[in-house]
């Protein structure tokens, strides 16, 4: 069999059926009744002991949502979602407050352990001494809709960094939350974001005070566990003047035959001279090879470079979900601000990805950079959709976009839909895109050097995505690289 044919066959058999995060954890949980109405919204708000204004905010969103229609412009095709057929709140039953990891349900901890999530505070608590100088990661673990454990809180507190579940922040720092929530993604922004505004149950909240460089990586792991559960987390990160924070996000879900719904909102605010680096490794269950099951992932992520010299950088490695609808964006409002988007999107089986970014240049001398690498295999459809716009007053706006697609096999599709809107003559936009397949010559060369077909494919693909991998923090880069190899690993007979 010719080398390439073999590779194609292997990749066709890819690993969607071997999703290694597809286990389910049996724990008792506390759920809102199925379906969505004002009572559901009230139930969630009450469960969270939220202030009255928050309930009002949610209700307003809910009423607005009722008048909205699901967007249809993306190149994704899925059966109609019955929004009344989901649970909008599911929380592990637990004691009212957690003071340490000891109080977390051991089943949940075991889940995170299986996922390889560095809840290293466990070790800290157990007195394990970590080597000097090792980079540490503070973790907020969100199980279904609820944050179950946030590590390193005490140490972060010392430097003034607030890192806690948003439900807790609403009680402890209501003014901060009130000031910023919905200020980047307004309640009325879009169908999914508005839905999230009504029913979000938890997520992470980060505030980095002026001049503080966050002493460690902050991380949230999201896990959807319960059946028929929608997960609607809301993340809000504020980097005050001159501060820096790097935030990582990981996602997994069990294998289920039914589709699960995920509609998150992430808002980032960078004030003067501040920098936020946001990295995602998204590995929600993609469904099986025939497209049964899998997560519907409709996510609104937006960063606001609100003041001058601020910077927001998105890096994403997307390998999971049946449907991905996601455009992490930057509003470059402050003069001299900078936005970046680095993305690897791998689709396989029957996955459908419609993802990209928006770079909205409003301030003077703003710059943005987009590097997108799409890899389509199996019968998947992989679309990059991106907008770069420079408004009237955005003099000297600069954008560079590079957007490459790789096709593995002849049953998949790779699409590129960029929008460039220059409304300012001093703007300079450069955009380049290519689509190609893995070169047979490259594979043969690697195989002559002793690599198997699948090793050769993985090597070439890793080379293809290297520019993006380099943007990830070290721990994530290794994990991402493995994930890429796994998703391209065949069941070689």
């Amino acid at each position: 069999m010719p080398a390439v044919q073999e590779t194609v066959d292997q990749v066709r058999r890819i690993d969607v059926d071997q999703y290694k995060y597809g286990f389910e954890t049996i724990i008792e949980s506390d759920k809102a009744p199925k379906g969505l109405n004002e009572d559901t919204v009230r139930f969630i708000s009450e469960k969270k002991n939220e202030p009255a204004w928050m309930l009002e905010w949610r209700l307003e969103a809910f009423r607005r949502w009722l008048t909205m229609r699901e967007p249809t412009w993306a190149r994704v095709d899925y059966p109609k979602i019955d929004y009344q057929d989901y649970y909008y709140y599911s929380a592990p039953k637990k004691k009212p407050a957690l003071n340490s990891l000891d109080e977390v349900d051991p089943e949940i901890l075991r889940t995170y352990e299986k996922l390889g999530i560095p809840l290293r505070e466990q070790e800290m608590l157990a007195g394990v001494v970590r080597p000097e100088g090792e980079r540490r990661v503070a973790v907020d673990a969100v199980f279904d809709s609820v944050s179950v454990a946030t590590t390193f809180q005490a140490e972060l507190k010392k430097s003034g960094v607030i890192f806690m579940p948003i439900s807790e922040a609403l009680r402890e720092h209501p003014d901060l939350v009130k000031k910023y929530i919905g200020s980047v993604v307004p309640v009325t922004d879009n169908f999914f974001a508005t839905l999230n505004s009504a029913v979000f149950s938890d997520g992470s909240f980060v505030y980095v005070p002026p001049g503080v460089r966050c002493p460690m990586e902050l991380s949230t792991y999201f896990r959807i566990n319960e059946k028929d559960t929608g997960q609607f987390e809301r993340t809000l990160i504020i980097a005050d003047k001159g501060s820096y924070v790097s935030y990582l996000e990981g996602c997994t879900a069990p294998m289920r035959d039914e589709h699960q719904l995920h509609a998150a909102v992430v808002e980032l605010v960078a004030l003067e001279d501040a920098e936020i680096k946001y990295s995602t490794v998204q590995n929600w269950y993609p469904g099986d090879a025939e497209g049964k099951g899998g997560i519907f992932n409709f996510v609104t992520k937006r960063g606001d470079c609100r003041e001058k010299n601020s910077k927001i950088s998105w890096t994403q490695v997307e390998t999971g979900s049946a449907i991905t609808w996601k455009y992490p964006s930057c509003i470059l409002r402050g003069d001299n601000s900078r936005g970046e988007f680095y993305s690897i999107a791998i689709s396989n089986g029957r996955q459908q990805v419609d993802s990209g970014t928006k770079m909205i240049h409003l301030g003077k001398n703003t710059t943005s950079r987009i590097i997108s690498k799409g890899i389509a295999a199996g019968k998947s459809q992989n679309t990059y959709r991106g907008l770069v716009s420079a408004h009237r007053k955005a003099s000297n706006a600069r954008n560079f976009t590079n957007c490459d697609s790789l096709l593995v096999g002849d049953k998949c599709g790779a699409h590129t839909v960029p929008y460039l809107e220059a409304k300012n003559s001093s703007a300079v936009f450069e955009h380049e895109a290519t689509t190609s397949k893995i070169s047979e010559d490259m594979l043969f060369y690697c195989r002559q050097r002793g690599l198997s077909a699948e090793e050769a494919t993985a090597l070439v693909v890793n080379g293809f995505v290297k520019d993006v991998l380099q943007q990830l923090p070290m721990e994530f880069a290794v994990e991402a690289q493995k994930l890429i190899s796994i998703s391209l690993e065949g069941s070689v007979g």
């Binding site: 697609s405 699409h415 460039l420 809107e421 220059a422 300012n424 003559s425 001093s426 290519t434 397949k437």
Partner: protein, 444 residues
């Protein structure tokens, strides 16, 4: 939820509906032609004019732009013809065979129909429709890869006259054909013209299509050209949108190309208030090579949109798309290009580039170069840039003693020239470059 409710009709939409009902009996053709019109009209009735929520019309919102619809132009009288007699003459140096359409109507008396080359026939669409010419009816609106396009739909409902040109198999027509469309009058009218061009197997021809009209008059032109090109044919098409400064022009090329053909297509836009040039090209035979380019020079509040869909339906075809626009004052250029590679179209080689030069603070350029790829063994790419003139180059020229305006003009000419270069016919290249120079001179 009220989104299902039909939007209220705009004045222009209502005007078109009224105009159709009032005039359909007078439009050429009965039977099958009328059925075609009625079907198209029904679609228009449901959809209305295209607007910004229709993805393909995102940047050219015809519903907003067309404040009203103009009455259908009357057949030209002697006065109109006399005003139109110089139509397209600025291209005289090209030495083309001029075929004139006044207010959308074929004017044989103004056209050069003498000594037609062997294998070339030229006729009027209105005649063909009236006579129910079976050859014309067989192809009209049938091969269209643009069936759902609202501009074409409207054209089908209203089409009056236009050219029917046939080049027989293996015929080589050296003298370019020039379809000169001119709006003659001093009244705001609307014109719907439709042309059919069939290039036979192994034939060779060049077709120029120019559109012009009076300044200061808000006339509306909708022209659609259906083109079929046989295997191994060589065909060049140059469209020049040179309309008056208040005109709305929507022109569509619908092309179906055979195997081993060579296609050159160029769209040159300098005139019109709102211009939409559409190309829907299907490469339906293997080993065909298509080179599709264009240049726009825009000023004041002009809006020019080049939208193309190149459909690689079969393997082993090559296409190159290069579009350039120069945008001054508060003008706006739009480019939307889509390369589709169908599942079996392996070994497709498609490359698209669009570049916009923004000359003033208020100028705007929007680009959407799209790839839609369903085959794996392909090499496709696109590039897009937007920006001002290169300061370093300007400085270099100024340092050599060239005054700023001239330096700018030189760079703009070079920018446009790189696109115009792709036109095979030398005289035509020169004519267009002279036109660009005139445009630059008028910049002041």
């Amino acid at each position: 939820m009220n989104a299902e409710v039909r939007q209220i009709r705009t004045v222009a939409e209502q005007g078109l509906l009224d105009s159709y009902l009032a005039s359909k009996a007078k439009l050429p053709g009965a039977g099958d032609v009328m059925a075609l019109r009625e079907a198209a009209f029904k679609v228009f009735e449901q959809q209305g004019l295209p607007h910004r929520r229709i993805e393909e019309w995102k940047y050219t919102d015809l519903r907003a732009v067309m404040r009203d619809s103009k009455p259908l132009a009357l057949p030209p009288d002697a006065k109109a013809k006399s005003r139109a007699k110089d139509a397209g003459q600025w291209l005289a140096a090209v030495g083309a065979r001029r075929i004139v359409f006044v207010d959308g109507v074929f004017a044989p008396d103004l056209s050069d129909l003498s000594a037609l080359e062997k294998g070339l026939t030229i006729g009027s669409l209105a005649d063909a429709l009236a006579k129910a010419d079976p050859h014309v009816l067989k192809i009209l609106g049938r091969a269209s890869p643009a069936k759902d396009d609202p501009a074409v739909t409207l054209n089908t409902a209203f089409m009056g006259d236009g050219a029917v040109i046939r080049v027989a198999d293996s015929a080589v027509i050296d003298k370019p054909l020039h379809l000169a469309f001119v709006t003659s009058g001093d009244k705001a009218v609307s014109i719907f013209a439709r042309s059919l061009v069939m290039i036979g197997k192994g034939a060779k021809a060049t077709l120029i299509e120019s559109h012009e009209g009076p300044a200061g008059i808000e006339y509306q032109v909708n022209h659609a050209l259906e083109l079929s090109v046989g295997d191994e044919a060589q065909f060049d098409h140059i469209k020049i949108a040179h309309e008056g400064d208040k005109a709305i022009h929507v022109g569509t090329l619908i092309a179906d190309i055979g195997a081993k053909a060579r296609i050159g297509d160029f769209t040159f836009t300098t005139g019109g208030a709102v211009v939409r040039n559409q190309i829907f090209m299907r490469l339906g035979g293997q080993e065909t090579n298509a080179n599709i380019s264009g240049a726009s020079l825009l000023r004041a509040r002009q809006h020019a949109d080049n939208t193309l869909v190149i459909d690689h339906a079969v393997p082993h075809c090559t296409s190159r798309e290069t579009f350039k626009s120069v945008v001054d004052d508060e003008a706006r250029s739009v480019f939307q290009g889509k390369i589709i590679v169908r599942p079996d179209a392996q070994k497709t080689d498609g490359k698209m580039a669009t570049h916009a030069l923004l000359l003033s603070e208020g100028a705007e350029a929007d680009a959407k170069p799209e790839l839609e790829i369903f085959a794996d063994d392909v090499v496709c790419g696109h590039g897009a840039t937007a920006g001002a003139l290169d300061e370093d180059l300007l400085f270099y020229l100024k340092a050599r003693g060239i005054p700023p305006k001239e330096a700018e003009a030189l760079l703009i000419q070079a920018f446009i020239g790189a696109a115009v270069e792709t036109i095979a016919n030398e005289a035509l290249r020169e004519a267009l470059m002279s036109e660009a120079e005139r445009w630059l001179a008028a910049r002041g």
